[in-house]
């Protein structure tokens, strides 16, 4: 019996087609698995009983402990925005529009996207690592044998917390970001404080803020979903958990930017 484990590389006629087929198949399989996971996770969010203790703990983790990171990001984003738009707008004497530019960019775009990306790095990674470790140390199996559905116990509370807490987080980030713009405008660029505030509020519409919060909610879902999905399906020890963590952050970040465009188009396309 002489099976050659490392055959010489040779081009077989159907190898190329085989490779293409394999890629397509594995893509379809992943897409199918992710869809099923999403459906099952969402259905557990909507159907009781709920584990309120865990939902609460996740909400604190996402909403409260992410505040410093998200707040810092927002304040600097607002400051940079004011400075940049000043240098740009000064060229055609439209400095008065800075307040508007800052508040609209923050509420509609930067608030949700930056908060989403920060939370993806913080929460998505942590969820993938925690659930992934539970998978490879058989804790998820143990849950099942203790008559506890892991989708209901692990995944649903995280999805609920993500969907509800990100809008709150982004609302706070909006305020902090606008405040950052105000700081730069008033203390560095010598704008009149009350004028700046009036300009900020004058053209702001409820729909600007609400659209940002809806985006935040969707991003919260995407981040927690990716964290849970990659963690839940991780295999292969510490290395597998590491891979799951990376995949969770990368895929959540890409999905956030992708859905940002889709949602913007849906909200504002005339």
């Amino acid at each position: 019996m002489s099976t050659n484990r490392y055959p010489k590389t040779q081009i077989k006629p159907f190898q190329f087609l085989q490779a293409i087929g394999r890629v397509i198949l594995s893509f379809l399989m992943t897409a199918g698995r992710l869809s099923l996971f999403t459906l099952e996770g969402t259905s557990h969010c909507l159907r009781g009983p709920w584990y309120f203790r865990i939902i609460y703990r996740q909400m604190i983790e996402i909403g409260f402990y992410s505040l410093p990171v998200v707040g810092l990001t927002a304040v600097f984003a607002g400051m940079v925005l004011a400075l940049q738009s000043y240098t740009g707008f000064a060229r055609f004497s439209a400095e008065g529009a800075i307040a508007n530019v800052v508040v609209l960019s923050i509420t509609r775009e930067l608030g949700p996207v930056l908060a989403g990306l920060m939370v993806a790095g913080r929460i998505g990674a942590a969820m993938a690592a925690e659930i992934g470790t539970m998978r490879v140390t058989e804790q998820i199996d143990a849950l099942t044998t203790l008559s506890t559905n892991p989708m209901k116990y692990l995944v649903a509370p995280r999805l609920i917390a993500g969907v509800t807490m990100l809008p709150i987080l982004v609302f706070i980030a909006d305020i902090i970001g606008v405040f950052g713009g105000y700081l730069v405008a008033v203390y560095k660029l010598d704008f009149n404080a009350s004028n700046y505030i009036r300009n900020t509020l004058e053209f702001l519409e409820v729909s600007d803020v609400v659209s940002g919060l809806v985006k935040a909610s969707v991003f919260g879902f995407l981040v927690t979903l990716m964290g849970c999905y990659h963690g839940y399906n991780s295999r292969g020890g510490a290395q597998g958990v590491g891979r799951a963590t990376t995949n969770a952050v990368v895929s959540a970040s890409i999905l956030i930017l992708c859905f940002d465009y889709i949602l913007t188009e849906a909200f504002f396309a005339k």
């Binding site: 925690e130 539970m134 140390t137 058989e138 804790q139 044998t145 203790l146 008559s147 559905n149």
Partner: protein, 255 residues
């Protein structure tokens, strides 16, 4: 008496690796079955198939006459209610203290208040030789042998009628191993639970088992009462219990 657990011609592959190649085993109610076999022969995989954690490619598994492979998740949950499992790697939840681990099944079903659950957890921990000192620690602060004992306490906490022990005595000192053997016997004798134990430890197998089943090359190669193991006439079993290198079990055939 009809079998409480019946495993019929179960096959399980991982990719191209055939781990189970037609396992058949009947386990009677109240029996204490010990499954032995070389490392990596699929003992834990068999257990996971019975628990519904892995789905076999082929075969039938019945618990109390119900085919568990055809059940919905919620039907399985009901069956799992009266099954206790001690995992080979303990598999404790590191996000909660030791006592909550032990009481998890009871707390999850809201059967008990937290105080009552804690008291009960302390009782069960005492059975495995663990005191109140460790009950508020995280499982990660315990040695592996202690973790396994917590796992055992968790497995028997809700008085199950079927208990699975995956290598309960590995990693324990001889005296503690014997305490655990006695505990498994007590669960089997006094409470009348069906006990299925996986072990490499022949001394403990002889002590706790009524029936021995030997797993070899993906099949049950011998099964019979514990009194027959020494004159079973099976070369595989002879080699295994005497720990010889020569015989039908070849190193090269493993894994």
């Amino acid at each position: 008496m009809t079998a409480q657990i019946s495993i019929q011609d179960v096959h399980k592959n991982f990719g191209s690796k055939h781990v189970l190649a037609g396992i058949t085993l009947e386990i009677k109610k109240g029996d204490s079955v010990v499954i032995i076999g070389g490392s990596g022969t699929g003992k834990s995989v068999t257990l996971k198939c019975v628990l519904g954690l892995l789905t076999p490619e082929q075969g039938k598994i019945e618990i109390d006459g119900n085919n568990i492979l055809r059940m919905t998740a919620s039907q399985r949950e009901k069956i799992n209610d009266h099954i206790g499992v001690m995992f080979q790697g303990a598999a404790l939840f590191d996000s909660m203290p030791v006592w909550e681990n032990v009481a998890f099944g009871l707390l999850a079903k809201n059967k008990l208040s937290r105080e009552a659950a804690r008291t009960l957890a302390l009782d069960k921990l005492a059975l495995v030789g663990l005191g109140e000192k460790i009950c508020d620690l995280s499982p990660t602060d315990l040695s592996f042998g202690m973790q396994k004992r917590v796992g055992l306490a968790r497995a028997i906490a809700s008085d199950p009628s079927i208990v699975f022990f995956d290598e309960p005595t590995t990693g324990l000192d001889p005296i503690m191993a014997d305490v655990i053997n006695d505990l498994i016997l007590a669960v089997n004798d006094k409470i009348g639970a069906t006990a299925i134990t996986i072990t490499h430890d022949m001394q403990s197998a002889r002590k706790i088992g009524n029936t021995i089943a030997m797993l070899h090359q993906g099949k049950i190669s011998w099964t019979g009462p514990v009194s027959d193991v020494d004159n079973s006439g099976s070369k595989v079993l002879d080699q295994f219990i005497n720990g010889r290198t020569e015989g039908p079990i070849k190193m090269a055939l493993r894994a």
